[in-house]
Amino acid sequence: MNCTRRHALWLAGGTIAVCAVTRSSGAQTVTDVKMRGSARGEKVWFDPLGLSVTPGSTVRFTNRDPGNSHTVTAYHPKYFDRKRRIPAGAEPWDSDFLLPDEYFEVTLTVPGVYDYYCLPHEMAAMVGRIVVGTPADAGWEGLSEDQTDVSDQVLAALPSVEDIIANDAITRKDGS
């Protein structure tokens, strides 16, 4: 897995944009995941919250919530001492806070299940799951069995691996 680095560019109008400055070599598929929130911040979520991609795919997380900042952070001891919920051979990542319209990219090469969360919104169950490849792939590492480091709300919000593989992408049950 090859994480991108974030780079701030001050634009003429005083607005800020973030671009990826490091990419793994070769052409890649880039799949979008949006960070969303309702107008008054009652609800926050990743859209889609479940995603199936092939090994080597790049996923771009973009903050499309005009009133809030978000992170996309892998469950891993390297960041905030969390229990690992990504494959052992994968590099963990933490985007840091993304302001509206900023984005962060990560390239996922190790087959398996990756669970991630938004740092300020984990309590609101703003979490997501990416399935890279299928259980038939060499080196596949399936779902984390740990249920002690995350809340029941978080576990309930994460779609099943089978559903994600069957549907490619899973959005929230209310259709958003």
Binding site: R40, G41, E42, G67, S69, L99, H121, A124
Partner: protein
């Protein structure tokens, strides 16, 4: 005579205290002076938040605030309080909170899932200070 003097001193004390607690003139236009800081300068949040405008807060009053909400022209438009639900449920009360302005035209109360600075799910209590305030803070 003594009684009258004591009453007069008492009234003077009360009016002085109120003036200090609610120095409206000083807060009517952004930037709010010390001890207030602009929220977006100290937390990773947009400078102008749709619905809340540009917020200033005295860090010592977190999480409840008051947060002073200014429109794009820097006019004080609302005073906002943020009260974590589990704190309320556990018996914490937020009493005697300050006001940005004594004039309140309407109040909105709604749930917020959290954001940098007040991560816990909480209620927003928004006191609008004039009829057009909500519209000005919207965008």
């Amino acid at each position: 005579m003594t009684k009258i003097s004591m009453t007069a001193i008492g009234l003077l004390f009360v009016s002085t205290t109120l003036a200090n607690a609610h120095d409206e003139k000083a807060l009517m236009n952004a930037p709010a002076g010390e001890p207030y800081v602009k929220v977006s300068d100290v937390l990773p949040l947009p400078e102008f938040i749709p619905g809340l405008g540009t917020l200033f807060v005295d860090p010592a009053t977190l999480p409840a605030g008051p947060f002073l909400a200014y429109d794009r022209d820097g006019r004080l438009s609302a005073t906002v309080y943020m009260t974590p639900l589990d704190d309320l449920q556990n018996g914490v009360s937020f009493d005697g909170l300050n006001l940005g302005s004594h004039t309140v035209s309407s109040t909105d109360v709604y749930f917020n899932a959290g954001h940098p600075g007040v991560e816990k799910p909480h209620a927003h209590v928004v006191l609008f200070h004039d009829e057009g305030a909500k519209e000005r803070l919207a965008e």
